[in-house]
């Protein structure tokens, strides 16, 4: 059991995101390191006693911040917005970190040469329904972001298919008609015969240092936070 005076810092557990996160701290003179087993999921910051580092997946970090299991953490804005409809009341974005850039976009088959903007999609949706007897299916892992974005653009007649991987392959496989997914260069979309709609950018996301409003902030936790933020220049 973690003491209430321990600050829990959640850091991505894998890949480039982990490397760049650790680097940000290192550049600020904060040495984040794993404790015990190198493959383990717990760590510490050298020199600050009451900090526990949790190495977990970026989407788990968003959940930790939402529920207050972590005090501060690094995760993408896309995940924050997807998992919290009321994110402003639950968390505070301390600093965009300049890495982990990704766009959440609406992409349709390239062969839909008659569709360039969101309004075009709405326009063909009723003809599509007449012919195929169902509404458009949209594959995505961003269910909430997608629903909010599409209905804000007047498109209400569609069905979301939750997709937990290889979303870009679903139109070719026939399980969805178009997708909402994350992209950095657009190359994967292109390779799968998809194109981004001109006004289909839902969110420009990047990694952020985020504080939880739901966590318990004892004076000692606050003190540890101040030390970390000072070093990071926030």
């Amino acid at each position: 059991m973690t003491s209430p005076d321990t600050l829990v810092l959640a850091v991505p557990s894998k890949g480039r995101l982990m490397e760049q996160s650790v680097e940000i701290f290192a550049n600020a003179g904060l040495n984040v390191r794993k404790v015990g087993n190198m493959r383990g999921y717990r760590g510490e910051i050298e020199g600050i006693d009451n900090v526990e580092v949790a190495f977990i997946s970026a989407s788990e970090i968003a959940r930790y911040l939402k529920t207050g299991r972590a005090h501060i953490g690094i995760t993408g804005e896309d995940l924050v917005r997807e998992q919290m409809t009321d994110w402003e009341t639950r968390i505070e974005i301390l600093k965009p970190l300049g890495f982990g850039h990704a766009d959440v976009v609406v992409a349709v088959p390239e062969c839909w040469i008659d569709v360039r903007v969101m309004a075009d999609l709405d326009e063909i949706s009723s003809a599509f329904r007449q012919i195929h007897g169902r509404w458009f299916r949209v594959a995505t892992k961003y269910i909430n972001l997608t629903r909010r974005f599409l209905s804000s653009r007047g498109l209400t007649d569609f069905r979301i298919i939750e997709s937990l991987g290889a979303t870009e392959g679903t139109p070719a496989a026939g399980t969805a008609d178009f997708i909402v997914d994350i992209t950095t260069t657009g190359a994967t979309l292109k390779a799968n015969g998809l194109k981004i709609l001109d006004d289909g950018l839902i969110l420009k996301s990047q990694a952020n240092l985020i504080a939880s409003r739901a966590a318990e902030w004892t004076p000692r936790v606050r003190e540890a936070e101040n030390i970390i933020l000072d070093k990071l220049g926030i």
Partner: protein
């Protein structure tokens, strides 16, 4: 939500029995469709907006299921399961629970778990007669349960559809206006757009293709589009076919050459949408609107009048019924006649009964063709509240 007391449960059961016996006497077979339904049917048919109000879950086999948000779709599915030919005539009735998420603080007349007693009639080709019969049966059932003071509201999407069909405009515009009918703001915007000159600069058609597409020669269009895709190295992919894409491109090109919608037609459509009148007088109002124009909707108009007459003949008080052209706007699966029964204590937002015609629903549930279908349901908790004066 306050838990149901045993007393209230018994009162609801007793009330349901009175209602069901009227339904059964009117020739409806009592059925009990499954409460747990495949989510896909509802989400594909009614769209994602309903998902936000439906209890959707995944079972241990990974199948996406839901608690039925209404009983009409489950009854359509039951009908299709029973009859290889869905055009088979059948009349059903049911009494059971349906489930819809309600945000915190929703009024008591909108519980998340509510009971509906309803009827459906499938495959009956005399539409006006089947519609009138539905209203009569529901009103009989309400009276049998003890309701005396109520008001009937009617609408008719068939009239609007007929107006659109008769007005001079390309099919595509018609489809767009019909599509937007359910969203008043978007409808007005669309109407305005269509009356403005040069509405459709065909920005969506690649320039090289634009000159080669001739709406007069649709056969050639598909070849041109295929050649264009090939030259760009774009493969066909997904459910939309080359034919569908070509058709849309051709109509975009055709639109750009079409005269904008006449101001008179736009005005007529707008005026129609605003019509609110006693059901009897609505016919005359409509005739006034159309006077002098060249729009002929005799057939839909006669259907409206005949239905009203059939209702009057059956003893329904139509002189106090109200017609609203906009009525039905928020319920996208209705296709024609719609009605609601309202009591003064609960008001317009919480009707005690409602229903209408939904001829395309059976096809969306898996039938190969549209099947004439009309039905209605009584919101039994509201009815009980109205009868016992237990309305907060």
């Amino acid at each position: 939500m306050v838990a149901e007391t045993a007393k209230k449960f018994e009162a609801l059961e007793a009330q349901a029995q009175k209602i069901m016996s009227v339904f059964i006497k009117a020739g409806h077979e009592a059925v009990a469709p499954a409460i747990i339904q495949p989510a896909g049917v509802f989400l594909d048919v009614i769209g994602e907006t309903l998902r936000a109000r439906t209890y959707v879950f995944t079972d241990p086999d990974g199948e996406e299921l839901c608690l039925r948000p209404d009983i009409t779709v489950p009854t359509c599915r039951l009908h299709i399961e029973r009859h290889a030919n869905p055009m088979t005539r059948a009349k059903y009735c049911y009494n059971g629970s349906a489930f819809r998420f309600q945000p915190a603080g929703a009024p008591v007349a909108h519980p998340r778990e509510f009971r509906q007693a309803g009827i459906e009639a499938f495959g009956i080709t005399d539409k006006a007669k089947a519609e009138a019969q539905t209203v009569v049966t529901v009103i009989d059932a309400l009276k049998a349960a003890g309701l005396k003071d109520f008001k009937l509201h009617v609408g008719d999407l068939g009239l609007f559809r007929a107006l659109l069909e008769a007005a001079d405009m390309p099919v595509r515009w018609r489809r767009r206006l019909m599509h937007q009918f359910w969203r008043p703001d978007a409808f007005r915007t669309e109407l305005k757009r269509l009356t403005t000159a040069a509405i459709d600069v065909p920005r969506d058609v690649p320039k090289e293709l634009l000159t080669k597409l001739d709406p007069e020669r649709p056969d050639d269009g598909e070849k041109q589009v295929a050649a264009y895709l090939e030259s760009r190295g774009i493969d066909m992919l997904g459910t939309r076919t080359l034919g569908e894409i070509t058709e849309n491109l051709l109509s975009i090109v055709a639109d750009a050459k079409t005269q904008p919608l006449s101001a008179a037609t736009a005005e007529l459509l707008e005026s129609y949408v605003r019509v609110v009148a006693p059901a009897r007088a609505a016919g005359a109002r409509l005739r006034d609107l159309l006077r002098g124009g060249n729009i002929d909707i005799t057939e839909a108009f006669d259907a409206y009048q005949r239905r009203l007459q059939l209702l009057a003949d059956a003893g329904v008080d139509v002189t106090h019924a109200d017609f609203e052209a906009e009525f039905g706007r928020t319920l996208e699966y209705y296709t024609g006649f719609v009605f609601e029964v309202v009591v003064p204590d609960l008001g317009r937002q919480s009707p005690v009964a409602g229903g209408g015609r939904y001829d395309t629903l059976m096809r969306q549930c898996g039938s190969e063709e549209d099947v004439p279908a009309v039905g209605a349901a009584i919101h039994t908790e509201r009815l009980l509240a109205a009868l016992t004066g237990d309305v907060r």
